[in-house]
């Protein structure tokens, strides 16, 4: 068996990487870090993605959008696989993705690094800088937001509310 042409794989990869997240459309799936691999099985595209949150309903939409994008790029019956391990972390959001979030008024997550599961009753994480005015005088409105991956904040300087992609 001869391997597929590199250009063909590149084309499938480019199509898959161009798909945007349905809830954070300023991010491509590649920038979000959920696109784990794009391969060719003969001439069939096989894409592996990992869910952000276990219950995230956007996953189905991501899969549908990937199929559409790949079909448009000449891969009519692409297979979309899911992988759970290793679990997605916000550390996989690319620099480009963080810049895009910030430009759209969403504070990007801080590095997670080594996970800690100690109870954060008193040692709360530092409040994020306001993505609009840059002030660090902000407060948490709620650790849960309009989508599974965001928390709600408010800036005390410019008085604007903003979302933040919370560390996971």
């Amino acid at each position: 068996m001869t391997g597929p042409e590199p250009t063909l794989t590149a084309r499938a990869r480019q199509a898959a990487e161009s798909v945007v997240d349905p809830e954070l459309p300023m991010l491509t799936l590649a920038d979000l870090g959920v696109l784990r691999s794009v391969e060719l099985d003969d001439d069939r595209a096989v894409v592996t993605i990992t869910p952000t949150y276990t219950g995230c309903p956007a996953l189905v939409t991501m899969k549908a959008d990937l199929r559409l994008a790949l079909a448009a790029a000449g891969f009519p019956d692409a297979e979309i696989r899911t992988t759970l391990s290793p679990a997605w972390t916000t550390d996989w959001i690319t620099e480009e993705g963080r810049r895009a979030l910030h430009e759209h008024g969403i504070a990007p997550p801080s590095p997670v690094g080594a996970r800690t599961v100690t109870l954060q009753l008193l040692d709360r994480p530092p409040d994020p800088a306001c993505p609009r005015c840059g002030s660090t005088d902000t407060r948490v409105v709620s650790r849960f937001g309009a989508s599974a991956c965001t928390s709600q904040h408010a800036c005390s300087s410019c008085a604007e509310p903003f979302d933040k992609v919370k560390e996971l």
Partner: protein, 309 residues
């Protein structure tokens, strides 16, 4: 491709299912994942254990979403619904894992029924077939009971999931590793609210103490060895409920101390001693509150066993 003159055209495009709203399309949450049962593990026992874990999270999620339109603040409603969504996500994976490990654990429906395994397990089992603990069945009578119960549940669930990261079943271990990160947020949320309510007004403190007093007796069941966990324990598939309870207890004590709340009278021993304890949720014996909860949750699906959603 899209007819911009017609706002509804996008809804009916054959090649864009799930485009118009999230959550309208479902597929097997384990699609593409190797769901074979590892050697040395009994598929039936693994399935039974995954059902136990999924029943806890499903019923807890259902209780939490009952706060929609009723929470004291919009932000809290969003928070409780988010926690419920995470738990529902865990449930889907756990039910799918159970179905893959032992297809006979899935209720049979008439031939040709399009209802997937996870939905059959959620909607087509009777209360006595559920194995959830009584803690998740309790109705919330006010925000304090919701917070106290969620805190106890999340502290226990987190300890359990952390232990399950070491399960010899790679699927269960992966589900647990992913869920740990989410439940960490649930526990923090509820713990902070508990401390806030206990240190708030006289009224909020009174309600919090009442909630702790009424919830704590149900924690006894959590540290008890049960048949389903015990059956899988020697092969390394499950977590030891007694060890999990011990870790949970430390966190409960820490938060009660931070809230300035004395240890409730009759606090559970949690020594795994089930002598004298009656049958519990793990035996299929439930409180009076489970049946109405399931009846409401299951009614629509049962009315349309051949329905597509």
């Amino acid at each position: 491709m899209t007819d911009h003159e017609n706002a509804y055209s996008g809804l009916v495009e054959a090649d864009s299912d799930a485009r118009w709203a999230f959550g309208t399309g479902f597929d097997d949450p384990l699609a593409g994942i190797d769901a074979s049962v590892p050697p040395g593990i009994d598929g039936g026992r693994l399935a039974a254990y995954c059902l136990v874990l999924g029943d806890d999270s499903l019923v807890m999620a259902q209780r939490l979403i009952q706060w929609c339109t009723r929470a004291p603040e919009l932000e809290e409603e969003v928070a409780l619904a988010n926690v419920a969504l995470d738990l529902l996500g865990q449930t889907r994976l756990l039910y799918a894992r159970a179905a893959a490990a032992d297809p006979s654990s899935v209720p049979a429906l008439p031939d040709g029924s399009p209802v997937p395994a996870e939905d059959r397990l959620a909607f087509f089992r009777d209360p006595a077939e559920f194995r959830c603990v009584h803690l998740v069945e309790l109705p919330d009578t006010d925000f304090a009971t919701a917070i106290v119960r969620l805190f106890a549940f999340a502290a226990w669930r987190l300890a359990l999931l952390e232990a399950l990261e070491g399960s010899v079943d790679p699927v269960l271990a992966a589900v647990a590793a992913k869920a740990v990160k989410e439940v960490h947020y649930h526990r923090d949320y509820a713990a902070r609210w508990l401390v806030t309510l206990a240190g708030g007004t006289d009224e909020s403190r009174r309600r919090t103490l009442d909630a702790i007093a009424s919830t704590w007796p149900y924690l006894d069941e959590l540290g008890r060895a049960d048949d389903v966990s015990s059956a899988l324990l020697p092969s390394g598939g499950s977590a030891d409920p007694r060890a999990v309870w011990s870790s949970t207890r430390a966190v409960l004590d820490q938060v009660l101390a931070a809230a300035g709340v004395p240890e409730p009278k009759g606090a559970p021993a949690g020594n795994g001693d089930s002598a004298g304890a009656g049958p519990g949720g793990r035996d299929g014996r439930h409180t009076e509150w489970l049946e109405p909860l399931l009846a409401e949750m299951q009614e629509l699906a049962r009315a349309h066993p051949a329905g597509r959603w």
